[in-house]
């Protein structure tokens, strides 16, 4: 990997970087769409490339079950299997193991679980996670970590953090001895729950191993913790992580989260939300999400966003025909997926441009003003951005501020 920071925001911690991997260049900060099963929902790899996406994510847990390693290895790796010759990142499989398998037991050796196919007890060790990711062949691979919910408290959090450091060592050894280091890059995952002192210890330990890792992820968040705690952990980690390594915030996808994280110094993020929400009829816009299932869109002949360059909007696909199609025809879901993938890419692309131009704080102000409009700013966003020198209330001291997550939604029963 070649990682070059090419510009920094004069006010916030945001930066623009060029990351060169075996399958090309990805400009950071970037959002990574999730192709869990080696496909972005309903689209082809060619379409993703046409949308200007250069880095996607596959889930190791899923690919290991289907199609399985025999198929992937005979296909020549996941890139060839799915017809994707841009950059690819795989997770370690640990997170899904814990969240999807009821009987997972974590031991020092690894994660013991019941095979979903045979019910046989099966062990996923750090070494094995790395070997599986070597066969998949992603450009960026993740260490196996000991995942606990961000709502967990007590000694289990500390145990998991310390074990994640020990497992990182085993992953590094496995990766170093593999001969794959030239084409694949190992990322560490910082753990430590919501406890700043545990996070600090984890950061120290993992930064000490920097020679064995190409980048760092911030794990153990996005699990239902308070947003005001979430951003403080992100900030603590981003502040301490080395300048010359990419920083990846796992499981982040809402536009406000992305921009706050970028301002705090995060370079990469991923989430299933933009593609999943498309299937339920929701289009993401600079004015907040639009739920196209609502009958108020039935007679609306304008596109989702006239200025959006996605295939759906540039073809002037009307909200009315989308209302007619969504949740009934896969083509309706595809139209929204194309749009939402481009929306995420545009949010990050505009951030890169603003950072280069020295106008990133202005971009934040105008984005949040438009996105939240009269609904009021989420208090945590105001606090987080103040911590890096941007005051969303600048010039509008009477603006409304709302507590809670502030996630914008067009209907009460959110179904993300």
């Amino acid at each position: 990997m070649r990682f070059e920071v090419i510009a920094k925001c004069h006010t916030t911690k945001a930066r623009v970087a060029r990351m060169t991997l075996a399958h090309g260049v990805t400009m950071l900060p970037t959002f990574m769409p999730v192709a869990t099963q080696a496909a972005i929902k309903g689209l082809t790899s060619n379409q993703m490339e046409a949308l200007g996406v250069t880095l996607i994510l596959n889930n190791t847990y899923h690919l290991n079950l289907r199609p399985g390693l025999e198929v992937l290895s005979k296909a020549g790796g996941a890139h060839k299997f799915q017809g994707w010759d841009r950059n690819l990142l795989t997770d370690s499989g640990g997170f899904q193991l814990v969240s999807l398998s009821k009987f997972t037991v974590i031991t020092e050796e690894g994660a013991l679980f019941a095979s979903p196919f045979t019910g046989e007890p099966t062990m996923l060790t750090p070494e094995e996670s790395i070997s599986i990711q070597h066969i998949i062949g992603a450009d960026i691979i993740m260490q196996l970590d000991d995942v606990v919910s961000s709502l967990t408290t007590g000694s289990r959090v500390e145990e998991a953090m310390e074990r994640s450091v020990r497992w990182l060592d085993r992953c590094i050894v496995q990766h170093e001895s593999s001969g794959k280091k030239d084409n694949q890059n190992l990322f560490a995952i910082v753990q430590g729950g919501l406890d700043p002192s545990l996070r600090d210890r984890c950061l120290d330990a993992m930064i000490a191993r920097r020679d064995g890792v190409a980048g760092y992820a911030i794990g153990g968040l996005s699990g239902g913790e308070e947003k005001d705690v979430f951003w403080r952990v992100i900030k603590q980690c981003a502040d301490k992580l080395p300048e010359d390594r990419p920083r990846y915030s796992m499981g982040i996808g809402f536009a406000e989260d992305l921009l706050v994280c970028v301002a705090l110094g995060v370079d990469m993020a991923d989430c299933v939300f933009p593609t999943r929400t498309a299937r339920f009829g929701v289009a993401l816009t600079n004015d907040g999400p639009l739920n196209l299932k609502l009958s108020k869109h039935a007679k609306e002949f304008k596109p989702i966003d006239e200025s959006c360059p996605c295939p759906t909007c540039s073809d002037m696909t009307s909200r009315a025909i989308l209302h007619h199609l969504v949740t009934h025809e896969t083509a309706g879901a595809h139209a929204l997926t194309l749009h939402n993938v481009v929306f995420q890419a545009q949010v990050m692309g505009r951030a890169r441009e603003a950072i280069i131009a020295g106008t990133f704080p202005d971009y934040l102000l105008s984005f949040f003003a438009r996105y939240y409009g009269d609904a009021g700013y989420p208090e945590w966003c105001v606090n987080a951005l103040r911590s890096v020198g941007v005051d969303l209330l600048e010039g509008s001291p009477n603006a409304k501020i709302v507590a809670g997550s502030g996630t914008k939604w067009e209907y009460a029963s959110a179904n993300p």
Binding site: A39, T317, A333
Partner: protein, 569 residues
């Protein structure tokens, strides 16, 4: 307003045999912007106005999509229908093709027709009225009046409108009396569609199922001038009855009488106003299967149970006996390439719906056949059920008969036609999007050459996508199956023109070459279409959530939510 004109050139106007023709849709004075559809050829089906599984960018790169039919009934959930509101919107005041715009079809490439109903839907329906047709929408049964249909066609301005037809969808079998009534109503409804001049507005729209016929219910309304009616295709009514079929054809040809003379002027007959004929096989087959097994003395020489296809051909020929052979014949409801070939050979049909091939994509089948048959002629299926575990490690392209230009497995023999679809011949986009400080000048990466063909998507990949409920499988298969069917028709035309050339100056119907190739095709490809049946079962087994629209079964399996069961051996 619209400058389009539709014409059909048939150098050798054969009445009942194979015909080579050209449908030309001219847009304006510029002949270069014409849409040309060589026949025999295909018509693609849509669902809720969209080609199933294809996003608009995929529609644009699928060359097989030239003629697209839109059943309008799903839009009749609302009154007025949304495409009508759209066409009447001020922003479309000077748009000659508002329906193309609304549905995302390209008026320079797509001939767009509308039918009131999905022609292959044979679900039981309440009986039609004298001037009301029952149609199916998501919100249940709706009634559509012939005057409404005429107004919708004139406002939406598709390239072709299929006339309403009184096709019974109640308890078959139908009595002679019912079929006589059906023939009379269908002719009357055609007359309503062909009537030029203003239409009372707002439309007298029936609100309830038991509404009165429109003529009686409608008070005097201010009439509004509308664009002319687009070219009309009429369904050859009469279903299973030879006399009813002949009577309908006769009613098209008889001189207009009474008030029709002035109302339809300058037409002298209904047929003069008709651009082509449609034959809906699905309701015909449903009605035939409900007939008692003993053929009635008045029926065709062959009984339906002995040889259903010959029986159908006899019925269709009865409709065509007296009608001019020079008009295009559009057939919906075919279910196999074998059936298509026989209808070309024995009836002289010109355009066939692709619905069965599109349905094959729904259930995971990649079509793999070609006409004329190439290579060894061992019996084989017309496609691959990619659910089957045998494809788990098959990194070949979808079709052997129409291979991909660039595969990871084997290279096609030189000279073999290759599949041009988005799955078999993916290409870098001519222009990809950039989002901010990621252009080639920044990344140092040049744009990829859009002429370069990339490796094809493989059977193993789609096998995986099918078993993990990934919708991308159906997008790839939908594009491919349309391309295979399109290539099949190109092959048919190739053999027909070769045989026409071979028989010096002779009519195409003598073509022994075509008959020989049809026999070879029937020997090579299993006509029972077992692969579709098998795939349908696998499709149901992998996900049984059904009945709430095409998407519902796909949304159940989101990212990170569970895993499908293991391959069934």
């Amino acid at each position: 307003m619209s400058q389009s004109s539709l014409s059909f050139a048939l150098p050798s106007p054969v009445r009942y045999g194979p015909r080579l023709g050209t449908i030309t849709l001219r847009r304006g004075a510029d002949t270069a912007s014409s849409i040309i559809i060589a026949t025999p050829g295909l018509l693609a089906s849509t669902s809720r106005g969209a080609v199933p599984h294809l996003s608009r960018d995929h529609v644009r790169i699928t060359d097989a999509l030239r003629w697209v039919n839109v059943p309008f009934e799903t839009f009749l959930e609302q009154t007025p229908p949304i495409p009508i509101l759209h066409a009447q919107h001020p922003s479309n005041a000077s748009n000659p093709h508002p329906l193309h715009t609304f549905l995302g079809f390209d008026e320079s490439r797509h001939l767009l027709s509308i039918s009131a109903r999905e022609p292959t839907d044979t679900r039981e329906m309440p009986p039609n009225g004298n001037a009301l047709v029952c149609v199916h929408s998501l919100r249940g049964v709706r009634k559509l009046a012939p005057a409404e249909w005429a107004a919708y066609a004139r406002i939406a301005q598709p390239d072709v409108v299929l006339a309403l037809s009184d096709t019974p969808c109640t308890d078959a079998p139908y009595s002679q009396k019912r079929l006589t009534k059906s023939v009379e109503r269908s002719a009357a409804w055609l007359a309503t569609l062909l009537r030029p001049g203003p239409i009372p507005m707002p439309l007298p729209i029936p609100k309830k199922l038991k509404a009165q016929p429109v003529a009686a219910a409608a008070p005097a309304q201010p009439a509004v001038a509308l664009p002319p009616t687009p070219p009309v295709f009429v369904h050859l009514a009469g279903l299973t009855s030879l006399p009813a079929r002949k009577a309908f054809a006769a009613s098209l040809l008889e001189p207009l009488y009474g008030p029709h003379i002035t109302a339809l002027a300058p037409l002298k007959t209904l047929d003069e106003g008709v651009a082509g004929y449609t034959i809906d096989l699905a309701p015909l087959k449903a009605a035939l299967s409900a007939l008692p097994d003993t053929p009635s003395p008045s029926a065709a020489a062959v009984s339906p149970s002995e040889d259903p296809e010959a029986h159908i051909a006899a019925l269709l020929r009865a409709s065509l006996t007296a009608l001019p052979p020079s008009k295009p014949r559009l057939v919906t409801g075919t279910t196999s390439p074998h059936e298509v070939l026989r209808l070309i050979a024995t009836v002289g049909a010109d355009v066939f719906d692709a619905r069965w091939a599109q349905r094959a994509a729904d259930v995971g089948v990649a079509l793999d056949f070609a006409f004329p048959v190439r290579g060894e002629r061992t019996p084989r299926e017309i496609g691959h059920n990619l659910y089957d575990v045998r494809y788990r490690l098959d990194f070949g392209c979808f079709s052997d008969a129409l291979p991909a230009p660039h595969t990871t497995a084997t290279a096609p023999e030189a000279g073999t036609p290759t599949c041009p679809c988005a799955a078999c011949a993916p290409r870098p986009p001519p222009a990809r999007l950039y989002h901010g400080h990621d252009a080639p000048s920044v990344s140092g990466e040049p744009e990829k050459d859009p002429a370069r063909v990339l490796p094809a998507y493989t059977r193993a990949y789609v096998h995986h996508l099918l078993h993990t409920h990934e919708m991308s499988a159906h997008a790839l298969l939908a594009a491919h199956n349309l391309a295979v069917l399109d290539a099949f028709f190109a092959g048919v035309r190739g053999v027909l023109s070769a045989s026409a050339a071979g028989v010096e100056g002779g009519p195409v119907e003598d073509a022994g070459l075509f008959a020989k190739e049809v026999r070879a095709f029937e020997e090579a490809y299993d006509p029972r279409m077992g692969v579709l049946v098998e795939a349908e079962a696998a499709w149901r087994a992998v996900d049984t959530a059904r009945g709430k629209g095409r998407l519902s079964r796909e949304t159940g399996a989101g990212e990170g939510e569970g895993v499908a069961p293991a391959d069934a051996a």
